[in-house]
Symmetry: C2
Subunit: 189 residues, 2 copies
DNA sequence: TGTATGTGAGACAAGTATGTCTCATAAAAT
DNA sequence: ATTTTATGAGACATACTTGTCTCACATACA
């Protein structure tokens, strides 16, 4: 299956899309269900992916590629600390459904993606940004970087979820997210 | 199985404890595994719980009972707004290990628990507290109550999770949670 | 047009989880 | 002490999932 053929390309992306949408909602979905959602025969699924594991790993790889690509513009912007974190949120919001897959399959994800040098780079840059923000006086020094990172990730998901339910626009949830993250829910004093 | 017998009580609680501990870590664990962890025969598991679903629902019910009981002291305290929210966090945090189950099985949980009148009551009281806090000037008026509630819930789950992983004590995550929620990660100006 | 190739449908085997049932044993209840 | 009841071990049927394979058909490609 060398993806020279239009049909193969279409089948493959339909399967990846189906897994991306279904597996975070129902992680134990059978490959029969995935194939049905994709509108593709089950046998064809196995022609593209040797096993269930292979499918998950492929979706992880594709999602991670999208994430890296979304953040590419930052390479030329030389932002640091708080400004970098704000910019990253802005760039990441539109693909939060892919981030959701990454977080759902985090155990597999870490095993697979940790072989990718970009993975260590990204994590490192997040930590650097948080610690830079601490030095700049934008993030409290008495908060563990790990907590700040978890909160940051969690707020991105909450914002995406609210947007996905149609309760607020991308711009609105981005504003809510960044305000809540840096200032909290209290009014400015 | 009317739980008049010591043995039945012991078996039942051993099974619930095993599910409570194992299922959040490995949600697809078989009932054979659960029974083995509990140190109970698989047949006995089926004597107590008609199906896998019944076991999960029972654990959800027990967990929710624990949550409601933990919040009982507030009935006599007449706290409102921000103070009520802080107190609720304080009372809920020690249940971290038990209530992680609720967040893992949130989909089933909502379906099962929404039949319980106490569920609607709890949600309603949270909304009331948030709106009271807005009136008191403790929460920004330009933030939708729904966003504030989602953020509040997600921060509690994040804190539970971090504590359950042994990355911070109950006191530590309580402090981090309340500070982040009301003040954000920025230092006080 | 003719050839190569991807696809759908379905048969098939192997493995595993579910749920039921029986029987001898051990423990609790009275 | 006697009766009642829960348990463990294991057999058993059923259903589902996985992964492989074949064959007729349709579509892309050259």
């Amino acid at each position: 299956m060398l993806l020279r053929d239009k049909r193969a390309v279409k089948s493959r992306s339909a399967l990846i899309e189906a897994g991306l949408a279904e597996l975070p909602v129902n992680p134990t979905a059978s490959l029969t269900e995935i194939a049905e959602i994709a509108g593709i025969g089950r046998a064809t699924l196995y022609r593209h992916f040797a096993s269930r594991e292979a499918l998950v790993e492929e979706i992880l790889a594709v999602s991670f590629d999208d994430l890296v690509n979304a953040l590419m513009p930052m390479e030329n912007e030389n932002l640091r600390g708080k400004k970098a974190m704000l910019r990253a949120v802005e760039l990441m919001m539109p693909l939060a459904n892919k981030l959701r897959f990454l977080s759902t399959f985090w155990v597999e994800g870490e095993r697979v993606l940790s072989k990718d040098p970009r993975y260590a780079m990204m994590e490192n840059e997040t930590i650097l940004a948080i610690e830079q923000a601490k030095q700049d006086g934008d993030i409290r020094n008495d908060m563990p970087t790990r907590w700040v990172m978890n909160t940051y990730d969690m707020l991105i998901f909450t914002a995406w979820d609210m947007n996905a339910r149609g309760e607020a626009s991308i711009e609105e949830v981005t504003r809510l997210l960044t305000t809540t993250f840096f200032e909290g829910v209290s009014p400015k004093s």
